[in-house]
């Protein structure tokens, strides 16, 4: 009985060690995951920056970026102190956090550009109509003012100086 218990205990220890050895994260794994997270974050940032530059409301995407950035910084700090497992886990979370950001930012950008295009078209249309009206009115106005000006000039009586005696 005692032998069986001892054997079970040894098997349990060996199994635990094996599981730990299989799941342990090495420096190289953590380093690779950090690089992947950095790339994912940079791509997300580039997309959000583009969307922001065309005037899109990127507040929600920025919250995700901020969160992912903080995760990556923590992952790098964990890596520095030698906690590769935590670094790996945080870097994975960082990649997950910005998973759809590129797609969302591009969609937001194209939506904003479309809105702005329509707005520009409308504004340009209104401006053109107003300019046409201004052009026609200015021609009529000019005719009216010219007439008024000439009338005023013709009504002016020339002053004749008295001849010296």
């Amino acid at each position: 009985m005692l032998r069986k218990i001892a054997l079970c205990f040894v098997l349990f220890i060996l199994f635990s060690w094996f599981v730990h050895a299989c799941s342990a994260v090495g420096q190289a794994d953590a380093n690779q995951m950090l690089a992947e997270a950095e790339n994912a974050l940079v791509s997300a940032y580039a997309s959000v920056a583009e969307a922001n530059s065309v005037g899109a409301n990127v507040s929600q995407l920025l919250v995700k970026l901020e969160y992912a950035g903080a995760l990556l910084a923590e992952a790098q700090n964990s890596y520095r102190v030698g906690d590769y497992e935590r670094a790996f886990s945080l870097a994975t979370n960082c990649s997950d956090a910005v998973n759809n950001v590129v797609y969302d930012a591009l969609a937001l950008k194209s939506e904003t550009e479309e809105d702005q295009g329509q707005k520009l078209l409308f504004t340009a249309g209104v401006s053109s109509a107003c300019l046409s009206v201004l052009f026609v009115l200015s021609l009529f106005g000019w005719r009216f003012l010219k007439k008024a000006y000439l009338k005023r000039v013709l009504e002016m009586k020339p002053e004749v100086e008295a001849e010296p005696k």
Binding site: L62, G69, A70, A73, R80, T123, A124, Y149
Partner: protein, 199 residues
């Protein structure tokens, strides 16, 4: 007023009115150049003022400062702050050439800021493993935001200023898409610390 002058004034008035009508469309198309592009970077003391910075420090005692970044670059920026720790003989960043300190960072912060936005963070730190022997002091670890960072720094006694002086400083880096990486933004802030023996 002559007829030609009258005609000129009329044409100019019509042109002015035309420009006013066109201004909303022009504002949407023409992009005017912005102002000067720069980033602000600061460190404040425990009272959030430019005073009361930690100076005489002892082991296992927590100190705090406030670190801030403001973006005036005209667009969304991706910043990184490196925390570095040096003794008197180790180099600072070179402001003339715009190069960072060659020391390895011990910690980092990252932030995304839109134009005009400000980031400020309370940075708490302490030292552990401080030993004094003769004319030098050894600092094994810096504890920053809960992370125990191995710095293993040897600080020599400064005869002139009577103290074991070291400096905690912060470098500002910004992501540059043109080079696909972070570049030193030629800004750093820091403060001197004097390692003392607890009484």
């Amino acid at each position: 007023m002559s007829f030609d002058d009258f005609k000129l004034i009329y044409v100019l008035a019509c042109l002015g009115l035309g420009l006013i009508i066109l201004s909303p469309t022009l504002a949407m198309v023409v992009r005017l150049p912005g102002g000067e592009q720069f980033s602000e970077f600061w460190v404040l003391g425990s009272g959030r003022m430019a005073e009361d910075y930690p100076f005489n420090v002892v082991e296992d005692q927590a100190y705090k400062v406030f670190l801030g970044v403001a973006n005036h670059m005209g667009s969304l920026q991706y910043y990184m702050v490196y925390v570095k720790f040096r003794n008197q003989t180790e180099p600072l960043p070179d402001s003339v050439n715009g190069t960072p300190s060659v020391l390895d960072p011990v910690f980092e912060y990252r932030m995304f800021l839109r134009d005009g936005e400000v980031w400020e963070k309370e940075v708490s730190f302490s030292f552990v493993g401080v030993s004094f022997e003769g004319n030098y002091c050894r600092v094994l670890s810096l504890v920053l935001d809960g992370y125990v960072l191995n710095v293993n720094k040897l600080i020599l006694w400064d005869n002139e200023n009577n103290g074991f002086y070291c400096e905690l400083f912060f470098e500002l880096w910004v992501y540059n898409a043109a080079v696909s990486g972070f570049q030193y933004h030629n800004r750093f802030v820091g403060f001197w610390l004097n390692m003392t023996i607890p009484v």
